[in-house]
């Protein structure tokens, strides 16, 4: 079946730098792409989503970019803080073979912020 994957399994940045976490997807029919953050010992938390007809969406300190031409999704975190250290998952929803209420998650990227 189709899947969501990640380019880099780990990312280490200095506090205050910007972070970019990448994700490649293969299901071009998905209607939403979503980012979740999972801190150690906790369940994942929703960060931001983007509809497939958009190419950019901004939140508080985060920006998600969607490039449908190359099937690439990225999460940018501005002025990364120690509290941003976590595993970040991209997920997709809907589309061919999917549904409007099931999310398919990628394998995750571990972000470590060095003080």
């Amino acid at each position: 079946g189709e899947s969501v994957g990640l380019h880099l399994p780990t990312l280490s940045v200095q506090e205050g730098d910007n972070s970019i976490i990448n994700c490649a997807y293969s299901n071009s029919a998905s209607d939403y792409f979503i980012w979740y953050k999972q801190e150690s010992g906790k369940g994942p938390q929703f960060i931001i989503d983007i509809r497939s007809n958009m190419d950019k969406r901004q939140g508080q300190r985060v920006t998600v970019l969607l490039n449908k031409t190359v099937k690439h999704l990225s999460l940018q975190i501005a002025a990364t803080q120690p509290g941003d250290s976590a595993v970040y998952f991209c997920a997709e929803k809907g589309g061919s073979g999917g549904s409007n209420y099931k999310l398919t998650f990628g394998k995750g990227t571990l972000l470590t912020v060095n003080p």
Partner: protein, 116 residues
């Protein structure tokens, strides 16, 4: 407002034993989900429910059963546990109002299950 509560948080089983993981949400969400998380595998959907009395299979349903007798509860059962079911299990819920409503899942803290 507790959100999503999972019990138990930890459990050790012997091969062949049965058990039930309980999930309760107090947000009046329509949709509920059970995921398992294994190292390097991300989150995989086991079963889900789009409303009271309804359940459906996800990606990895074999060896598990579920029930949604009440809107606020979603139970995950293992009838005969196997070592391959050693994992961290997460319950989640969402409004499921269509559009982006189902994108925002509220997860529980997880239940770590070890099958010897």
């Amino acid at each position: 407002n507790a959100g999503v509560t999972q019990t138990p948080k930890f459990r050790v089983l012997k091969t062949g034993q049965s058990m039930t993981l309980l999930c309760a949400q107090d947000m009046n969400h329509e949709y509920m989900y059970w995921y398992r998380q294994d190292p390097g595998m991300g989150l995989r959907l086991i079963h889900y429910s789009v409303g009271e009395g309804t359940t459906a299979k996800g990606e990895v349903p074999d060896g598990y059963n579920v029930s949604r007798l009440k809107k606020q509860n979603f139970l995950l059962g293992l009838e005969s546990a196997a070592p391959s079911q050693t994992s961290v299990y997460f319950c989640a819920s969402s409004y499921g109002l269509g559009g982006s409503g189902a994108n925002v899942l509220t997860f529980g803290a997880g239940s770590r299950l070890t099958v010897l």
